[in-house]
Symmetry: C2
Subunit: 391 residues, 2 copies
């Protein structure tokens, strides 16, 4: 029995994969109607923020893993000290959830990251930003070192006035900050890695991701990269996995900028940039996560088709539910629709579609056509406006 | 919400597919630990044999479908008369579950079946068998017209003495019988069909199945057939689906004998001969069953690789659990393991493995290697002894 902290769509898709292997899942769900609750063998209602709830979960399963990172690391460490198996463990999570710690750790071992400074020195954050911008030049990017995801906790600032404002707002919320150069991004990549506790590792081909408003909208596998860049990205991802002692699946998100690769973020769990693997790869990220946390041999990450496109489905602005358009999307040839059973709200991530095929333009066109049918009005065109963008 | 009568492995795999589409499932399970119970959104404990239990299921779902055929057709008709949606409906089920009715119906519309006679005339069954054998020649096959599956209810008899004995045993159990010619089988095929209530139909490429002891052990997709035979098999399966007004997925099992195709059995539900479709076809039988019973557009049944082999996993003779050998099987390249979470018992169907690839011998070898690792001792070699066999 695998225990999953959280019961969102990642828990749901992990459970689908676990079920195929005959493996039971218990989820720690905030609500009984969470996306991952109905399908789990067992649902504990609770929260990792409530003292004792992680322990209740650990008691009824063989290994604890995660749907999200909003966990108290002290509690995770306490579980480990009590002899519970947690994968990934606290030593991995403390790097994954803290951008400052991650940047420092990676810098120390030669994993490339954007130029940065953590704003925890003696100087006032505002003054430190000024000094950093004096060498890196405006605009710069302020980031919360913890708690950010999907573009939250990331604030590009154009000048000192904007920086002062952001620093003041962060101070009011006691949000620790770092400042980073604005990277002139050519494209964004993600590399999915699965690693067993003792080191066996498989890496999926690097993918190209497109963000709008800091949120991933489209994933193309394989990414349109020259072979040397793809090889370098895989090597970086392997190095990260070894460095943080990964047990499970991880996504390493990278910037490609002026020919160089820079690690932007990591997520030590199955990730939106890997949903395409369900149909697009021999072994899905969810199955390999199950296999990795159970310390079972990992499966083949090879693609099942020359090209795979995956597009996220968000709640339309009018509040309507994409599920009501399911038939229209399924009428499109070769479209794999995934809906997460979540209540529709404008902008909420409710599902994704994946198309596999031999022609890149064709698979993208079909995936976006399905996304439009599922009711996301005003979706941008597949090819966003050029120029650097930041998340 | 789809309601499934029964909670075996077919319900489990149907639920995995439904979950991906964001569709909830309620199962009517005999026991809370049935294979399909843990994963369902909701489990009602009950039995289609208990008056009122089908009605309880129908009350909490939008459409009722089936994991098995052990249902009282009178109760199904009563549900339909009360306005409940049941797919496939009673008009389909009454043909699918009664071999005598099926043979007569198919004969009437020109769907080829083995030469047969239903033993419900004025003559004693034993005498009718003698008369039939007088024209068809010994051996002949006696079959229970209802309730048989996996080789149960099928009795080849070599002579009058054996026929008398089987007829007497059947009479003691009030089992209605039919007699059939012993078909000189070249190979056995199955054709999977999905059909929407108003007629949209998709047909997967015909597969070759190998039975040992009347139970399916291996499925090869596509079957090794000449194109004319494959085309004819597809045409027969479409004709059957239309004739019985199918709504859902059905398997048509055929004999190829002396160049001719004969329908042996049909199962108006997802079927063991279609488990390979989970990885081996663009749309699995389980997803298309969900789509068909919800009257949604059907998905592409094309293969994802040139060759797919699937081998069933049974409980080893020593009572051990194949799940304990999961790691060994997953260590083999490209093997998709499905275990159903059922308690291991010798001979019980507990799972299956599927391998996709470009070389038939290679995918078969890997699938059988995985099956052996999963602990089925004494499994026959992939290629059984030649000669006619009957189920």
């Amino acid at each position: 029995m695998i225990g999953i902290v959280g019961a969102g769509q990642l828990a749901r898709m992990t459970t689908e994969a676990a079920s195929a292997l005959g493996v039971d899942v218990v989820v720690l769900a905030e609500q009984t109607d969470d996306a991952g609750a109905g399908i789990a063998t067992r649902t504990l209602v609770g929260s990792p923020g409530v003292p004792g709830d992680l322990g209740r979960l650990a008691e009824v399963c063989d290994v604890v893993t995660f749907d999200h990172e909003q966990v108290d690391l002290g509690e995770v460490r306490a579980l480990e000290e009590a002899g519970r198996i947690v994968r990934p463990g606290s030593a991995t999570l403390e790097v994954a959830v803290d951008k400052a710690r991650m940047r420092r750790r990676f810098t120390a071992v030669g994993i490339p990251v954007p130029r940065y400074e953590v704003l925890d020195g003696p100087a006032a954050p505002s003054a430190a930003v000024a000094a950093f911008a004096g060498t890196a030049d405006w605009p710069v990017v302020l980031k919360a070192t913890r708690g950010g995801y999907d573009g939250k906790g990331v604030w590009p600032v154009a000048d000192q006035a904007e920086a002062d404002e952001t620093c003041a707002r962060a101070a009011a919320h006691q949000t620790p900050l770092m400042v980073e150069e604005m990277v002139p991004i050519t494209c964004e990549l993600a590399v999915l890695v699965a690693r067993r506790p003792q080191g066996e590792t498989v890496v999926w081909p690097p993918v190209e991701t497109t963000q709008f408003g800091g949120v991933c909208r489209e994933v193309l596998a394989p990414g349109r990269l020259d072979p040397a860049t793809a090889t370098a990205a895989v090597a970086i991802a392997r190095k990260v996995a070894d460095e943080i002692g990964l047990a499970g699946v991880m996504a390493v998100e990278l910037f490609l900028a002026q020919g160089a690769l820079l690690v932007n973020e990591i997520a030590a769990r199955p990730h939106n940039s890997g949903h395409w693997t369900i149909e697009g790869s021999v072994t899905s990220q969810f199955e390999n996560h199950v296999r990795a946390v159970l310390d079972l041999p990992l499966g083949d990450p090879a693609l099942t088709a020359p090209h795979v496109a995956s597009v996220n489905i968000f709640g339309p602005d009018d509040g309507s539910d994409p599920a009501t358009h399911l038939g229209g999307a399924l009428a499109l040839a070769g479209v794999h629709v995934h809906l997460y059973g979540k209540r529709a709200r404008p902008g909420r991530k409710l599902g994704h579609v994946t198309v596999c095929g031999s022609d890149l333009d064709d698979v993208r066109a079909r995936a976006w056509a399905a996304a439009r049918v599922l009711g996301a009005p005003g979706l941008p065109k597949p090819e966003p406006e050029g120029g650097p963008h930041e998340r």
